[in-house]
Amino acid sequence: MPTVISVDGLRKRYSGVPVVDGVSFEVNAGEIFGVLGPNGAGKTTTVECLQGLREGDEGEVRVLGLDPWRESPQLRRRIGSQLQESSLPERIRVGEALSFFARPGSDWRHLLEDWGLADKRNTAFANLSGGQRQRLFVALALVNNPEVVFLDEMTTGLDPGARRVAWDLIEEIRRRGTTVVLVTHFMEEAERLCDRVAVINRGKVVAMGRPRELIAAHAGEVHVHFTVHQPVPWLKDVPFVHSLHQDDGSVEVLGEGAVLAHVGAALVAHGCAPEDLHVERMTLEDVFLRITGRQRETD
């Protein structure tokens, strides 16, 4: 897949304080690329440099082969942006906003339906709820069928139902061939949507890869849980098991790799078939907290 975004050694300082400190990554055509990180990590500054809204101090940035700062007019025609902090005039109506940003021939009416704004077409921006405003901003980002779309905290302010609808729509956008750069706080969102993610902390990329790969790389021990009302010391000798804790009926087995299959087989062989046998999988959120939390501890 061709590369549509390449960032190499991007640095940005404010009053001498580095906010983005040598960030490098590439985004391929048609993928959903997540940018994750705690507050103040430099995520928004990084994507604003990609959109030509800020000029990087150092480093090389190319989006669709263009320099975002020097060739911003050409770039803006090919990208769509939903910004974390932006607004519209209070008295502008939803339909007017979409019509204003749409280029001639661009059909923006279907976006009203897609993003649940059809009945708000004549409502002033000031009278929209937080979630409706957010949906309008995403719709505005998509109004001219961009090749790359930047979504910064897209689902902030949306209720869980609206968030899931937004996720389905983002997957639909990708199916049409649009590359999506998603800045998010919601790890569930990144795990569900992103093909690859970059975790940024203190202006640096501290982890990058597919969510599953990151989880596997940082998963550490596998935790197997079940309930059984008899001692099970023989589980210590099962392959891949590292340790065993039994508290009344509740058992926790720590191991690695295929430990779940071996523990299950051993339990059945000993005549036990606990109904609640399950493995506690690490989520992207655990990986995120582990990576960024570890860095905090080293301060």
Partner: protein, 267 residues
């Protein structure tokens, strides 16, 4: 050009939906003009008001004041509010050229200024039989140049001031000072030397003379035209740089705020 038209139509619609700020901005010059008319009347006095009647003098001057109120209050409050609330950033992130948004606001300013000027003129004519402009075409040209000049000042103020409230405060102070020393308050002849120097140093006085001269039959004032063009060019150039590099003012603010922050940390 397409976006300039779209932006102008949109700004006019938004103005029509929320006209209260502009109504107050335009009402102020008319009220002050009436107070001055009640005090000085319109009988010519060779010692003051360039030898013409006070209201004949004040009506073209208050057309300048109307333009100035749109330029130093209306436009900066609107533009700084757009910047403060991230509206300008929203436009910058799309392929809508930022100049078309500012151009739309400028056109609205000129239109509102023209409406305000017409009200001032009609009010003066109806009550004090103010003389018809001696050279109407030149007055129109002077009006447009004055509107452009204060439009550029307004864009610069709206670009450099941190927010709508700061723009409103700064705008009202500027407006009053300019009104008092720029030839739209007490007659220039009675101002002390230092106030006359202050009056000469601010743009309103030049704009007022630019409009007054063809109105009162003194002909076209080329030197005031050059001053207005120079102010327009300087403000437009600075605004362009500040809009192109919007984080410059933040750096300057950092220098000013920095030591104060350190002081408050010590306390």
């Amino acid at each position: 050009m397409r976006y300039l038209l779209k932006s102008t139509v949109l700004e006019l619609k938004l103005l029509a939906r929320d006209p209260i700020t502009v109504v107050f901005t335009l009402a102020l010059p008319v009220i002050v003009l009436y107070v001055l008319g009640a005090v000085f009347g319109n009988t010519p006095n060779p010692r003051y008001y360039r030898g013409v009647g006070a209201m004949d003098f004040y009506v073209p001057a208050y057309i300048g004041i109307t333009i100035a109120s749109m330029g130093v209050i209306g436009l900066p409050v609107h533009l700084a509010g757009y910047r403060e609330r991230g509206i300008l950033k929203r436009f910058r992130a799309s392929d809508v050229p930022i100049w078309s948004i500012i151009g739309g606001q400028l056109v609205v300013t000129v239109v509102a200024g023209a409406v305000g000027s017409l009200i001032v003129w009609l009010a003066g004519t109806a009550t004090y039989h103010v003389a018809f402009p001696k050279a109407p075409i030149l007055v129109l040209a002077a009006f447009l140049l004055a509107a452009l000049c204060f439009g550029a000042i307004g864009v610069l103020l709206g670009t450099v001031l941190p927010g709508a409230r700061a723009a409103q405060g700064a705008g009202i102070i500027l407006w009053f000072v300019m009104m008092m020393v720029g030839g739209a308050g007490p007659p220039y002849e009675v101002l002390g030397r230092s106030l006359q120097v202050l009056g000469d140093a601010e743009p309103l006085r030049h704009v007022v003379i630019l409009i007054q001269d063809p109105w009162l039959g003194f002909g076209w004032n080329t030197s005031e035209m050059l001053v207005a063009i120079a102010i327009t060019a300087a403000c437009a150039g600075l605004s362009y740089l500040l809009l192109k590099y919007p984080y410059w003012p933040l750096m300057f603010r950092g220098i000013i705020v920095g030591p104060r922050r350190r002081l408050s940390a010590l306390r």
